[in-house]
Symmetry: C2
Subunit: 441 residues, 2 copies
């Protein structure tokens, strides 16, 4: 390895361009802080001519990222292409196999192939660093992998997707509907043209699976994450949350339970005083519950070119300084095959919003179905609506009315069974809304 740490940078979007800017601006500092200088020795992207705000004309150009990944004049391959498959993934494998350190922000790749890549990095004696893959510059990967390596993590939970948190914050603060907030998020660049990966919860699920593997020393298992998105959330739910003393958030939560690792991503009612309740807009936050350190909370911008580039540079700095830690904190073969705690076994309180035909006996029938499943109700509230009206604006005594039920602690299987029966009884006019209530520390 030469005195200079030579980066091969594949992918020149906002993060890649920011990274070049950062390396340019701080090269003197890096020599001091890292004990050696850092330089971008080669780049690869789809379009060489595109204007990126930084001058790349002096940099060696590779049309093939795989060729860059294995180039003898590269020490670290920085992968900012993305995707679980395709050329980014191929280049990462090639780099590790060629004995190059890899720094990546590619959460989809880690979620799909983290175990294989950790083994590959280990066999070749190189680092696979990915601070930027979960919540950008929030140093949660380093905290779990290093700071808490001597402690025992019991649970991690947080807000891991800025797009969803932005939408929910605007819906709540301005009483706007989901669609218009999503449109604003797209206009402002907080959401992709195809927003489904974010709003359906998959982005959060990938990040959760990565963090969960480090936190619990288990093999990454993104397919075991139970996932619901936020597109069914209405302002009625946000108003109810407010009245009940909760904030409604897309929660990512992984818990070490007696029956295995429970990983979930779904909208949740979180108590107003809890660590993440006041995290608004595009900010991310992660709480870590440990046996000894207590509850640690880290928050910051969870996305953005500069913030993500800072995280990438943190990983590069570790390599420059010779800091080397196993990919998921343990030697890859020691990562445990964990039991999966299924969502059906989940226990907690529930918020249910039903759309009920306002007929005599409907309430009683619903309450009975709940009782049959041994579910105790904390409250049933029929939301105030202007008099039931039918489509032509006339009074309709049978028009469906929203009814909100809050249950005491029960389990998911019981709730699902009760809702199925209530629906079969014909009392409800639409799919019920089910939101889990979390008693977070």
């Amino acid at each position: 390895m030469s005195e200079v740490l030579r980066l091969g940078l594949a992918g020149l979007g906002t993060v890649g361009a920011s990274l070049i800017e950062l390396v340019d601006r701080h090269s003197g500092e890096f020599s001091l802080r890292f004990g050696r200088s850092v330089s971008v020795a080669g780049v690869s992207a789809r379009d060489r001519g595109k204007n990126r705000g930084s001058d790349i004309s002096a940099l060696r150009w590779f049309s093939d990222p795989v060729a860059l990944a294995v180039d003898p004049d590269i020490d670290v391959f920085v992968e900012l292409i993305g995707g679980a498959d395709g050329v980014g993934a191929e280049a990462v494998r090639a780099a590790l196999s060629a004995g190059k350190h890899v720094v990546t922000a590619n959460k989809a790749l880690l979620a799909a192939s983290g175990q294989e890549l950790a083994e590959l990095a280990e066999r070749n004696g190189v680092s696979l660093n990915f601070e930027a893959a979960a919540a950008a510059a929030i140093p949660i990967v380093k905290t779990l992998r290093e700071s808490l390596a001597g402690d025992t993590v019991r649970q991690i939970y947080g807000i891991l997707n800025g797009t969803c948190n932005y939408i929910l914050t605007r819906m709540k603060q301005e009483s706007l509907d989901f669609g218009s907030c999503l449109a604003d998020a797209q206009r402002l660049g907080y959401a992709e043209a195809d927003p489904s990966f974010d709003i359906d919860g998959h982005d959060s699920a990938h990040k959760l699976a990565i963090l969960s593997a480090i936190a619990f020393g288990t093999r990454i298992d993104a397919e075991a994450v139970y996932v619901e998105g936020i597109s069914s959330i209405t302002t009625a739910d946000l108003v109810a949350a407010e009245e009940l003393g909760y904030e409604l958030k897309l929660l990512a939560i992984a818990t070490h339970t007696d029956t295995g690792i429970e990983q979930r991503v779904h909208p949740a009612m979180v108590p107003r005083g809890s660590a993440i309740a006041s995290i608004d807009h595009v900010t991310n936050a992660i709480a870590v519950e440990t046996a000894f350190a207590g509850q640690l909370v880290l928050s910051g911008p969870g996305a953005g070119g500069h913030s993500t580039a800072s995280a990438v540079l943190s990983d590069i700095g570790d390599i420059a300084r010779g800091i080397s830690v196993p990919t998921f904190g343990l030697p890859a073969e020691k990562l445990a095959h964990h039991q999966v705690a299924e969502i059906r076994a989940h226990e907690g309180g529930y918020y249910l919003r039903l759309t009920v035909f306002d007929r005599p006996g409907a309430f009683a029938a619903i309450a009975s179905r709940m009782a049959e499943e041994r579910i105790s109700l904390e409250s049933i509230v029929q939301r105030q609506r202007a008099e039931g009206q039918n489509d032509s604006g006339q009074h309709d005594p049978e028009a469906p009315q929203p009814v909100i039920l809050i249950t005491y602690e029960t389990n998911e299987a019981a709730i699902r069974a009760a809702l199925k029966k209530i629906h079969e009884d014909g009392h409800t006019a639409a799919e019920p809304q089910l939101i889990r209530i979390e008693a977070l520390g």
Copy 2:
């Protein structure tokens, strides 16, 4: 160095006892995570016979911590004695000189002699780790020293003393006075029998000086920290803060300004929506403003045996894994001699609570003195009191009344000059209360 990492542990208070418990409980895990096992090979404390809840009878006992520090069967000296001088400091110097890594929670020692110790560690090729010295298990030292090594920190601020935050929280929430909250804190073990080190702000100042050195790459300079404590805070100030949309916190803040490094610890009005405003009771929080990563906030328990022990073990884990970083992030001789930005040059808004004789012309005279110093007033409010009464309960038109002034941005020198004149004019019956208003990000 042997395969086992052998600890010499000096100081067996709650942190030391917790550390022994943690090492005992997790020794199998450590071998996996750190690649080598960890054991306590020797201990030293004042009283061998004291019951500590953990059995130390099988451990090698050293009556002299300095002898433990240099013992050939020790790889890492863990100093939990404390104190800027005395036997703890002496043992740390001896350990570093003997080529032993040192892990310490001793903020007073680092604040006083950090530069000298960093140079000593470097000369001997060993690590000096101190995550526990600033905010216990909140991984702020690692975040500044490693995660943000490639970024530029512009400001750090936070709540670094749990005792003070506990007292202010109780005073606010329960309208209690300072003295009774302090007594409760002492009864609950949150405050020392002699609480002055905490409540006068010196504990926060030591922590701030340590973090500031890493954040800005400067030589530690605890004497340059401007310090005020919280003993002058009254419920009147907390009520006013509430009404004005602020939280009143003991703020520790270090800023890289154009004229030098400004380090301050004092009560401050912080905007209700700011990152640390909702941090209550004994919790600590630190916000870091960076050029690229944006604003990161880390919070958690800032004290306690278990939490501090977890931080100590994090430092030990780094040594076991071969992670080595310069004490303050840069080679010691490269740490900059910084300019000190004096508090007199501080610019910001001010909250002033004066106790004014209620005579005609008093308001006008005060306002004139402010104008002479070019201070613009946002508001002057005479607090509602029952009619002025003298000591015998009769109406006294000249009884002093509390008057609260809020200024627009001005500077400390101007405020001090105005207050001096107002006092000399004879309009005030007591020392004015001055609390800085901070426009935090």
